[in-house]
Subunit: 402 residues, 2 copies
């Protein structure tokens, strides 16, 4: 059969076989896009069409902006200095407005589908797909009586989940950061491949990982009109607390029962962990310390107890977390793992806040793990490393069982 018809629509798949200077299209690109591209030193070349623009910049979220230069053909180009390995969000600033790069796939961050570029880390394979058994990532939809709406979550099931129907598994609830959504841990971080690799080399126990959407509006409570109400105003604070409480209720009253009914979980606190990054870390501390009957492993990745990390409050071990730390020995027996981490290059307030929480916990003799990711900022490479350190510490005494 002739392939004329298919040929017409396949044409867009071909592009630009040249490869000067060792630059290769980024793994985060859409099919066929030659730009952005990356070289072995971690430098990135960008190219975008904007013939009518007068100023175009690459707007990295964790690095300085990069000015682009206009070329005679209406395209703008720029080459970065070597970037820190890992996944970097960016957008294009075009004459005072902000858009995504059509050459990049979109990654939800900053409350929008932003662009991203992956800079390979030499020697790091722990977040790449390798020739080992792979788990699935399931999209599930559940109706929440808390929000009065259908909600979407992603659920990683470990390799062989289907072929070992008599086994039950522990569960890690793993939350994204502010402005992100339930897809971030998979699309940006490759959490599924991280778990696949950790399980394959027996560093981690097989587990189910649930990634929920971290924003929740309570049913029948329309958004307040905050126009003219500055951040920190009583109205804004009240609205924020309502959002946070709605998430907590959705998670503990709807999502966890749904997951325990649908999947072969071990549905008790000894086999349930929660961790999250940034906002998700703060949510983790709120949800777990409010519900220590439900959780026994706690992880805060570049985010933990909000007032203690960002609010500059002093840890009072007698009263903090509803008094949970008042007896450190009892706490360590009850909570199998308290884990906090931060990147060494994070913004000063975040880094100092996590360090202060760490030293305060140490001073109060509260057993915990503190991890610093060398050379990385408030970005996904930090959180990939966090997960790589955190996951092997989970469920070692309570693995999957019949």
């Amino acid at each position: 059969m002739k392939r004329l018809g298919i040929a017409i629509v396949l044409l867009s798949g071909f592009c630009c076989a040249q490869n000067p200077g060792g630059f290769e299209p980024a793994s985060t690109n859409v099919w066929g896009a030659a730009y952005p591209r990356v070289d072995a030193a971690g430098r990135a070349e960008f190219r975008v069409k904007a013939p009518g623009a007068t100023k175009v910049q690459v707007n990295f979220w964790s690095s300085p902006k990069l000015d682009m230069e206009k070329q005679p053909d209406g395209f703008w180009t720029a080459t970065s200095a070597p970037l820190v390995p890992g996944f970097h969000y960016y957008t294009l600033s075009i004459d005072g407005a902000e858009f995504s790069d059509p050459g990049s796939h979109s990654y939800f961050g900053g409350s929008k589908d932003a662009s991203g570029i992956e800079i390979p880390e030499p020697g790091s394979t722990y977040y790449l797909a390798q020739d080992i058994p792979h788990g699935d990532v399931r999209e599930v939809w559940y109706f929440s009586k808390v929000t009065g709406s259908w909600r979407h979550a992603l659920v990683y099931t470990p390799p062989n989940y289907d072929t070992q129907p008599s086994l039950r598994y522990p569960v890690l609830y793993l939350q994204h950061g502010g402005g992100e959504d339930e897809t971030g841990w998979i699309r940006q971080a490759h959490a599924n491949f991280i778990l696949d690799n950790l399980i394959a080399d027996k560093s981690s126990k097989p587990m189910i990982v649930v990634m929920a959407y971290g924003y929740a509006r309570r049913a029948g409570h329309p958004d307040p009109d905050l126009a003219g109400k500055p951040f920190g105003s009583p109205e804004a604070m009240k609205a924020m607390q309502e959002l946070a409480a709605a998430f907590e209720d959705d998670m503990t009253q709807v999502l966890i029962p749904y997951i325990d009914a649908k999947f072969r979980t071990i549905a008790d606190r000894d086999h349930r962990a929660m961790a999250g990054l940034s906002m998700g870390g703060m949510q983790t501390f709120q949800v777990t310390f409010d519900h220590l009957d439900l959780f026994s492993y706690i992880g805060g990745f570049s985010g933990a107890a909000g007032p203690l990390v960002l609010g500059n409050e002093k840890l009072d071990a007698k009263t903090a977390f509803n008094g949970a730390l008042a007896d450190p020995a009892a706490f360590s027996k009850r909570v199998h793992l308290l884990w906090i981490g931060v990147g060494t290059e994070e913004p000063a307030m975040m880094h100092a806040g996590l360090v202060r929480l760490h030293t305060s916990l140490a001073d109060a003799n509260v057993k915990h793990v503190f991890y610093e990711s060398p050379g990385t900022s408030h970005e996904w490479q930090t959180w990939r490393r966090d997960l790589k350190d955190f996951a092997p510490r989970l469920f070692q005494d309570g693995a999957s069982k019949p």
Copy 2:
């Protein structure tokens, strides 16, 4: 516990509680984005910041462009005429360049993460999440010896797949169109909800639906440099045929065996269907007619046999499809369903091509179904309707079984 930290990062979730003129944020928007928004008549209002631009348009792919007007605050705004119900791709044309709308989620089409807007269809609930049992959508990764790479596919498993471990299911392979990817049938079309609804009201048999990525580069065959080689040149045609053949080999030699090994399928031709839209319909005709030993249900949605639909070739029932139609009675016995569909408002070549294929098949006494979607163009509303008509015709004599 105080919620200061969470409050900081939750702030972006609030925006714009006003609702003048009955316009509501589109369901396709990102969380908190007030624009674009839609009213009951199907009109859409757009708003985007571009203070330095001199000309901004909403670039619909299936409707005329819409000029936007610059406002004193640096934002551009426009209100459309009533749009056809359904999902519409669009981008923003800004001074000769093309970008996505930051207010919209991204939907992969046109070989990029484009914007999309959902116009509700009054009375149509068949593609919405309803209070019925829901299937899952699984992301799976398989290594293809054909492409030498890891490939990603989405797999819909019907409600209760997990709770009825003794049942096996028939499989529909469902392909996206040119410039799209394996996510389109879920994100843009809500194929999972369409199947959930059809299965709930017993119109469709429970089935597994596999959505594969329709582009494949053969391992060790780098893209040819087609610079200066016009479309239709021997070099370009050869390249296109190689892409199409690589997809066919990946599907028949790797994907189908992988799916049959991993899922509880009924692994025979009587329980295997393939359909696709546009390019995916052409691929369906190529793959199924080359492998009638593997498939017995065939669907072409706004795309079928390329040369017959787009190439203006005449159907010779004696020789077409390797002679499969030469004996119409034998063909009907062997192929349980041959289904083609097109929207009445599609571009003339596509509409005329499908009508001509339909009448040619009728003239040759080849049993088939021809469906026209009233009032819709080459767009997802056509393909949602196609799936709604097509899926209930599958596997009625060969449903899930132990």
